[in-house]
Subunit: 240 residues, 6 copies
């Protein structure tokens, strides 16, 4: 059994608080165990240059951590004058994942901003960001539908994400930091509610892994995704 | 009476939650009405170059806002590659205010980092940051004393801050955003629990003001400070 | 008596040279004792984005120091790739102070640039910058009126600034560097010729100060302002 | 059949020129069809701060494109003053992939720099970079062994990378730009010569994909990797 | 005789490969001994702001080195976040040199981008960049004439560049790195095919030089330029 | 005759004010006609990394313009976050020119900072900077000798600089802005008091120039240098 008392195939306790902030149209606090991320979705009435006069909209994501979200204080990227590689990688992943299920032609030349700010980090901040942002995004789209800004719901399927890994030769679902930092293999999987894959990113942190292990990790991730989809459905009160 | 139902000389409801985050030694969520700021205090075992081999410690502060803390999304300073003037001004103010009551020689060559991250903004974020950070700072110092890292409590007096302003010729205490953005005069006052001044910053936003008005604003600020000191005392369980 | 031979309530010798540079419409060299600042005012025929199509003009200020203005060479901010917090703070103060007396609607969608470049620093560079810039600004506006670019003089009152402080328990007016760097309390006051306040910024550098002291400093600043207004009037040859 | 005349499961013609440059210890020009990348490996006699006094070495990678490597001129990142997200992502991937097979403890506190500069881009620049860099890395390590800088060869297995994708419902191996830019799913796979996985990154560019498709892509990638390993072996003249 | 076996007044072997890259309209690999530079010329359908609505075109140049072009790895300017002084100086020189013979009014409001990327450096990279870029530029203009984008050839004379220097009191033509780094005087000369000067930049690296020496260097440079012009003519197949 | 009333071979009136600033060891205001530059020389007790433990000193220069030194306001490079190519070019030229006559081994591991700040620009700011900085540098070295920081005067010859150019087919010495901006050819020459060349930079701004013209310009520059050396000698009171 894991240090946290969880089974190897058990995700952490998930709590999603909707309408967490006053200003954004969609805002969520997602807690996966000790990992806490504020995810917001807001609309801007213009698109990036490459989409001007295309009739299409866009969705983009930004991700950051509070300096004290981590055990050791991490330096503020604003103070350093540039965004690091890890941040770039994560915010690109969040954006791609949500765009993959969003009909960007359904709401005109507008941009959806997804902001994920990690308040407290204990592993799995990128996957929690995706799972939480999806809920904020649906809340935004619901408001847009109410206001007549889009005729149909631009997302047709759920999206959530979870990590799996191999630690001391054991397959683990939803790694917390103490596990993640020791894992031999680390994989993040983004899937839809229908069980389709949006993104699979597996990395041998120390030892290359076999195809058999790869398949087992994918299976295990699928279990986590089904659980997360269930929680998203309950949070959102049923249908999209 | 004000739109919020408050009297002109009444501060907003204040709520300070200690130990808000898992990792930092001192961490607080301060809510002043709809304004919400996470304030943390942490220790780093080194000092900036100008203090090396001085035997003295240092205290510095950083301040930021979530992009969706405000009504209109404000751009992330990390994405812009630089910190704006307003941020610089605020974090320098927070640092100065707390250094003014801290005995920097009492804990050796170490640096205290104060991080203030505004989760939601409704006016008065800089003053709430100071009031909240003070509590986080005391929590840090208490832990340092427990761990034998300092022999005596490095702060000897409380510090809190409040805004006052003139709006439609009325003196108002603790302005929320709707008031602040319309005010003719805006003043931020940082004071100790003993009623001494640390910082007074008054600005005529539209119309220069008379000395009589200046004195009246200072008086009114003092009222707010006394209330805030009381709340800090209760939160911290009595003596420093 | 002070090291410089001045009385505690005596400002340094002030010299304002108008039309100091060839190119800008308004340009001044202000000398307050050993502190020397070149202040210029120029017009640009456009406004920042937030004012486009508003019919209103804008005024903004920039401040810098020569590397060798100070005793120790200060690094050029251009070489460091960013403007420091102190510079931001000062140039925002200069801009706010002059905007407070300028009718921004009287000259259309144009921007006034105030540039303050410190040639030599001996304390009080920000206050000298304000006092000198006001004169350069009036010269610019006079030219604009001559050229028919504005129908009325956009400023209706004088603006000047002075520092006061407490050093070894003595109240001092217009601190030079040797005093400023040792002062327990440092206050900058910006006032109009009519004796109204535009900005009051008082900071306890070492020890919090009492209300009585605050009031005494404000009084003393007023004396300095009256003297400075007088000098501005003479320099400008009477009426605005 | 594909536009290029290739079968769906056929990689492009690969040409690896060793000792391409005069100065670096290892340097390779890899050509995969029209994609051309210069990969170099060099040694620096120090490590990043986090490894000082650890006795361990490090390996890091940088990646860039010539402005005219692509059809439309891409702006130089040096002129823009920052590295974009895509570049960050790729250079992190290259570094991780090579570290996964390198014994960082075998050559002391030194850093291996891998530089990948794309001279001409026609899809698959990141995978070509990995495949080519591995050869340059072996050349560097061979020189280090000759010079007595390491006792044993620090890599024990080959590393290469290839892309697979789904385009018009067809599985394709080693996509060129015209295919890649239209693909529904895009996957990059990094594997060892022994057939183990180092990195799997699959992305639904337009439509989420099924597990069956995922497995088929992984199989197809494996075919490409076997071919690339064979070419690396021939290029390197047999054993590692 | 020089270490390389060359006579003092002998340039290195020059090889210019046209159409070196697939995408740009003009692209050349120029090799002068061990120095190798990729030079490209491409057209962008807009001009910088200062030329909008002028009817005139522009030509600008950028220059960079691969990190491993030099003996010691030089840091990537993109990673450092800014372009160094040497790079600025060189790319300005390349742009000026080519603009001096280009009729910018002959092809409308378009910008020619010259990109010079040094693959391998052994002295004389800036002069090789100019000599090679000229060939790429002619290739671009020929394509533009074929496509009817300009009625006449915008360049009317050849441009090439060469270095001369004084080393151990000897005049040397076309210095390689080992000579250049030891030279007492270093001069770069840009000339037209007709023998006119575009740019002369001579620098006393260690000892100021006499007018007699200056004239001798200018003469020697002229010899090199005549040889380079000859090679350009052959490469371009005769007339411009 | 020129618009200014000068002969073609006549330099502008030169005025060099020594000890212009209070803090730096050497400081000069140089005025060449309407061009005014503050030049300072100061000593820092350390050297850049590449000279540590070499026993040698260094000399480096920085150059900047006040925003309103020019007719059109030029943007502050600190506000833009980077130094432009022109600034880089000029400050490298100033540094090289002064290093060429300075014995860097005569004053130990120290760095001389030359700062040139253009107060008012009317052409020839880089040449005025060199001529003025030389005087400031001698003043610094004289103080160092008095303080025993160097045993002998580290400069053994004078250095000054002047521009020449061709305008409407006329050779002109020491161009002012109205001439410079129209010139067909522009040349800057840096020479020693003994008539040796340190730097020659000639540029065809519009039309390539003949060797005959080149020689005539060099002759004319020499005349200007002789005059400037004379002025430096008088200013410095005779011998070095």
């Amino acid at each position: 059994m894991r240090k946290s008392g969880r089974q190897n195939d058990e995700i952490r306790e998930v709590k999603i608080t909707r309408n967490y902030l006053k200003h954004p149209q969609g805002s969520v606090l997602i807690e996966m165990g000790e990992t806490k991320v504020i995810c917001t979705a807001t609309l801007e009435e213009k698109v990036p240059p490459f989409l001007r006069n295309s009739g299409k909209g866009w969705l983009t994501a930004e991700y950051a951590m509070l300096p004290m979200a981590t055990q050791e204080r991490n330096k503020r990227e604003s103070a350093q004058g540039r965004i690091g590689g890890r941040t770039h990688e994560i915010q690109r992943l969040i954006g791609r994942s949500l765009r993959a299920v969003t009909d960007l032609e359904s709401f005109g030349e507008k941009t959806v901003y997804i902001d994920c700010d990690v308040i407290q980090a204990d592993g799995g901040t990128r996957t929690a960001s995706i799972t939480g942002s999806f809920v904020a995004l649906v809340d935004l789209f619901r408001k847009m539908m109410e206001e007549g800004k889009c005729a149909t719901m631009p997302v047709q399927d759920y999206v959530s994400a979870v990590s799996v890994g191999i630690l001391e030769d054991q397959l683990l679902l939803d790694l917390e930091y103490a596990e993640d930092s020791q894992a031999e293999v680390d994989m993040n999987v983004v899937m839809t509610g229908m069980g389709k894959f949006i993104e699979v990113q597996g990395t041998a942190e120390k030892v290359p892994f076999s195809q058999e292990r790869l398949l087992a990790m994918i299976e295990l991730a699928g279990q986590g995704i089904r659980k997360l989809t269930e929680i998203q459905k309950q949070t959102l009160g049923g249908n999209l």
